[in-house]
């Protein structure tokens, strides 16, 4: 308990300084889920006002080198919030590692459910689910319209000079395998297939990078807030349309390709109306497949965080054996598109 008390006292002192008003953290509890970041639910009184906040802190090791820092993620959320995108209001950023051992930020708590299985299956969310496909299309349209230069968020990773977003994605995936010294025939084949069957990219936009059921906070009115912005980058918006259709984000409701909440076609049509553009369905298929390749490889990288001894975790370890699910899906999708 001394650790918990110390955590609260340090955070109280920080909030007092950051807000310029007397602040007390009255309760702090870890939030479940999320293998990549340390998250806490915080009750605080700041200048006499009761606030419910979420604290997001770096883990000892990061998932991928490409992930944004907490400072960058905070800046991006501010830009998104300013443009009316549904995101928790970002409040305070602390880059001083002496306060809580690692950089962190605080944002408003948004009531609702993010746990994927509950979002797609809970009976009380049936009406919310009906709203989600159109809301997801609308929010993606807004994210893809963010002017990253105007908002001072030009730190977002861009495709390397002369590279398409697909080349970059493939290089990154290969880089992860090579860095872990993993030789894996199924991924090797899939990456070669992906190189040889790449569609062209028409647009470059801001990409959320992990937009899917499980990262969307849902309440009775549907999509309340989009969480987890750390994998945001500049890329092909079709990446994101394929990504949110991946089987792993359907959480058991297998016949609804859009995250277990809707059919894909109405979602794509809604997106086309909002973005004022026509979407190549085959290119979306391709990105869905590449999404499985990348997620399957990240699962191996996650397991390695445990195996390296730096971050012992049964959850991280388990992802190593989950990778096969993504491998099977990527192979099935390749078969459907033509090997």
């Amino acid at each position: 308990m001394t650790d918990a008390l110390d955590f609260q006292q340090r955070l109280s002192a920080y909030l007092t300084e950051a807000s310029g008003a007397p602040a007390t953290v009255t309760h702090a509890a870890p939030l479940a889920g999320g293998a990549s970041r340390d998250m806490w639910l915080i009750d605080a009184e700041v200048g006499g006002e009761a606030l419910k906040l979420v604290l997001r802190r770096d883990s000892p090791t990061t998932m991928l080198d490409e992930a944004l820092t907490r400072e960058q993620e905070f800046g991006l959320m501010q830009a998104a919030h300013a443009d009316g995108i549904r995101v928790a209001r970002p409040r305070w950023l602390c880059t001083d590692v002496d306060v809580l051992g690692a950089p962190f930020f605080l944002m408003d708590y948004v009531p609702g459910i993010a746990i994927g299985r509950k979002v797609v299956q809970a009976p009380e969310l049936a009406e919310a689910r009906a709203l989600l496909p159109a809301q997801m299309a609308e929010q993606l349209g807004k994210i893809h319209a963010l002017d990253y230069r105007a908002h001072g968020i030009d730190f977002l990773p861009e495709p390397a000079e002369g590279h398409t977003p697909i080349q970059d994605a493939i290089d990154q995936a290969r880089g992860v395998l090579d860095a872990l010294q993993i030789k894996h025939p199924a991924f090797e084949f899939a990456l070669r297939w992906a190189e040889q069957n790449a569609p062209s990219s028409e647009r470059l936009t801001v990409i959320h990078g992990d937009f899917r059921i499980g990262n969307l906070i849902v309440n009775a009115n549907g999509l309340a807030a989009i969480a987890d912005w750390e994998f945001s980058h500049i890329g092909d918006p079709l990446e994101e349309l394929g990504y949110c259709c991946m089987r792993d984000w359907r959480f058991g409701v297998r016949h609804l390709r859009l995250g277990g909440v809707g059919d894909r076609e109405p979602f794509l049509q809604a997106y086309e109306r909002i973005a004022g553009t026509t979407i190549d369905r085959q290119a979306v298929d391709y990105w869905e497949c590449l999404g499985n390749v990348r997620w399957g490889i990240i699962c191996l990288a996650q397991a390695n965080r445990h195996l390296s001894g730096h971050e012992p975790s049964v959850e991280l370890a388990s992802l190593g054996r989950r990778s096969a699910e993504m491998q099977y899906e990527m192979l099935r999708l390749i078969e459907q598109m033509g090997i």
């Binding site: 479940a32 049964v314 054996r321 699910e325 099977y328 078969e335």
Partner: protein, 140 residues
């Protein structure tokens, strides 16, 4: 050589302890509860690996022989065979990257090998997932 419980029975004993004693006790702590469920699942995976490993090793070895049109003998010792299989897998990766499997007949044969290897991984890691997808594929 060793007294019972054997390896599989040891895994079962630990899994049953987690399921019957620990799960009810950690239910109030969502994170600990979730991690305990994950741990139980990993013990089940380990148990299935014990059952399937020899058969999968043998099948993979024979598929690689067919794919590479050779008749290499498998080392009798299981660990040596696993190491040898890993080495052949590495060589297969290099061949794929080199473009050796870019053309139709070899490509299709490679694809079948990869699909079957992945199915065997899932028989150990997630048999229910595999079963559901195979039913879906059969229905369509």
């Amino acid at each position: 050589m060793y007294d019972r419980p054997d390896l599989s029975e040891l895994l079962d004993a630990v899994r049953m302890h987690l399921e019957d004693q620990i799960i009810p006790a950690v239910k109030p702590d969502p994170r600990l509860y979730f991690h305990t469920l994950v741990a139980i699942n990993l013990l089940k995976i380990a148990g299935r690996e014990l059952v399937y490993r020899d058969a999968h090793l043998q099948a993979a070895w024979q598929r690689l022989n067919a794919l590479e049109d050779t008749d290499k003998a498998r080392p009798a010792d299981a660990q040596e065979a696993m190491d040898a299989l890993a080495l052949r897998s590495d060589q297969l990766c290099a061949a794929i990257r080199h473009g050796d499997y870019d053309y139709e007949v070899k490509r299709a044969a490679l694809f079948e090998h990869l699909l079957q290897s992945t199915r065997e991984q899932l028989e150990v890691a997630s048999p229910r997932h595999l079963q559901i997808l195979q039913q879906e594929d059969a229905a369509s």
